[in-house]
């Protein structure tokens, strides 16, 4: 988060115009204001550091070469005067911006209704975001959308009385002038504080605390899927109907076959049946490996049967399952363990045989 242009950028300024924080997202007001500040500072820097000295030097030069020529001296006078006036105007403009922004953004805790009221209203805690808020952070109120009226989540995480609306929970009653918002769906202010829907953050304000409110991001309450990342010998997930162990067992594979082939499917195709013959994507290759288990055309012809006989069915999850079962039942796993076939298939066989 970038402090809201409480002061103009220091001069001379040779830094980057666009803040680093705003180069990876849609720029918010904080970044916009900073860019404007930087452009002004850079322009003034160029004027004072480069243009003004050159103008003064040129004026001095005219004095030297026109010791008695009145028109030449007048021209030199005009250049020097214009240069000095230009410097004064440029610095005065910068000074005005600095003063105005400082006045508008400094917190006045003593005078109720002072300028801090509207600046605080606009910018919350006196700061502005570098990036535009994501959909999950922006309440429907901020988007000028109608209150949500649809049904809530099938298995609710919104508090009672709230309706899920995108990634937030909304409570709107007839006659309300505005809806109430609670935490984004799946988040909590576990560190304490109140959720502010317009910023998407948890806020703790202490009365009399000159440091103002502190903010923190809500903590996700989603249970993260962990524990299987990076483990060699991974099998298709239980929900991948193309090659999960349970799917293969349902198709007639033994437990050993199902575990082994589920592992091989991950290595061969990432468990994705929609992999066309390899030589379609790689025309220089002769390989026709296709489908969940990357069975080549000649092998397919040898083991596929019924409605799966034609090789055009090689991206069918069902035909892959059936054909692979016939193949390994008759031929074992040697189609995967040949010297140049698959360096990791043997690991699956060793692990799950």
């Amino acid at each position: 988060m970038l402090p809201l242009v409480a002061h103009a950028t220091a001069i001379p300024f040779f830094g980057q115009i666009v803040p680093t924080e705003a180069q990876t997202c849609a720029a918010g007001f904080g970044a916009f204001a900073q860019v404007v500040n930087n452009i002004i500072a850079f322009a003034i820097t160029i004027g004072i550091v480069f243009v003004a000295p050159l103008s003064i030097a040129y004026g001095g030069f005219l004095y030297v070469v026109n010791p008695v020529n009145p028109s030449g001296r007048a021209k030199a006078n005009k250049i020097l005067l214009n240069t000095i006036v230009g410097i004064v105007i440029a610095l005065a403009a910068w000074l005005i911006v600095d003063v105005v922004l400082t006045v508008l953004t400094v917190t006045d805790t003593k005078t109720e209704g002072s300028v801090d009221y509207w600046s605080g209203k606009l910018f919350g805690d006196g700061s502005a975001e570098d990036c535009l808020l994501t959909d999950a952070q922006i309440s429907n109120e901020a988007l000028n959308q109608a209150p949500a009226t649809g049904p809530g989540p099938t298995t609710g995480s919104c508090p009672e009385g709230y309706t899920q609306n995108g990634s937030s929970c909304t409570s709107c009653n007839e006659g309300d002038t505005e809806c109430s918002y609670t935490l984004p769906y799946g988040s909590s202010c576990s560190g304490g504080g109140t959720f502010v829907s317009t910023t998407g953050q948890c806020q703790v304000c202490t009365e009399g605390d000159e440091g103002g409110c502190t903010t923190s991001s809500p903590v996700s309450t989603y249970a993260t899927n962990t524990g299987t990342y990076g483990v060699s010998g991974a099998q298709c997930a239980s929900d991948n109907t193309a090659c999960s162990v349970s799917s293969l067992e349902s198709a007639g594979y033994s437990s050993s076959q199902a575990n082994t082939m589920s592992c091989i499917a991950v290595i061969e195709s990432t468990g994705n049946p929609n992999t066309l013959p390899y030589n379609i994507a790689h025309p220089t290759s002769n390989s026709t490996a296709c489908g969940t288990f990357q069975i080549v055309q000649t092998t397919w012809k040898a083991y596929a049967s019924g409605s799966c006989t034609d090789f055009s069915n090689c991206t069918s999850a069902k035909c892959n399952t059936e054909t692979a079962l016939t193949m390994i039942s008759k031929n074992g796993y040697k189609d995967y363990t040949c010297a140049t076939c698959n360096s990791k298939a043997q690991g699956c066989i060793d692990k799950y045989k």
């Binding site: 105005v100 649809g150 899920q164 995108g166 990634s167 109907t241 991950v266 690991g347």
Partner: protein, 184 residues
Amino acid sequence: MLWGTTAFGLIIVIAVIIYLVMPDAPAPAPTGTPSLPISDATGAQNGQTTGGTTYMVPISSGASIATKDFLRDPATVSDPVNPGYYYLGYHQSTGPADATAMADPPYVIAYIATTHYFNIGLYQEPIGQVRKEAEQYLLKMLGISQEAACALKYMVSVPEDVNAIYASQNLGFSFCPGATILPK
């Protein structure tokens, strides 16, 4: 001086107010490999939508995550061979040409509607970069946070012919705890 300062302040205030009430700019599209179209889905209700634009995706804990109705996005195609399979963006196809079909896609995001499972395959090197592109596309397509994505039922993997070292693993999303760190 006072009038000048006040007038200047008012100009800033008016400019700020105009800026704040302007509609939001769209988020940047995924970069790198050819960007895929993502539209603002506005579909009718069905058994799993709320409000016509939201799709409920059950996660492993039994709860559900509200996403954009990505199944109605024009960039999502159903698999004519495998009923219930959908491809979000890139995919291979021998059927009628569509905007996101290509012979050699950098990644494929498959969604199996019956089990609400996302299968992400990385099919080109550098797989670290390709994984990031796939993640960005999926987050944008679903309109969810990284935290929510970590709770999806999903798998990220790479075939052996693309990268023999990282094959045979669930690589996870790069931003999820425990995910495999890939070379950039």
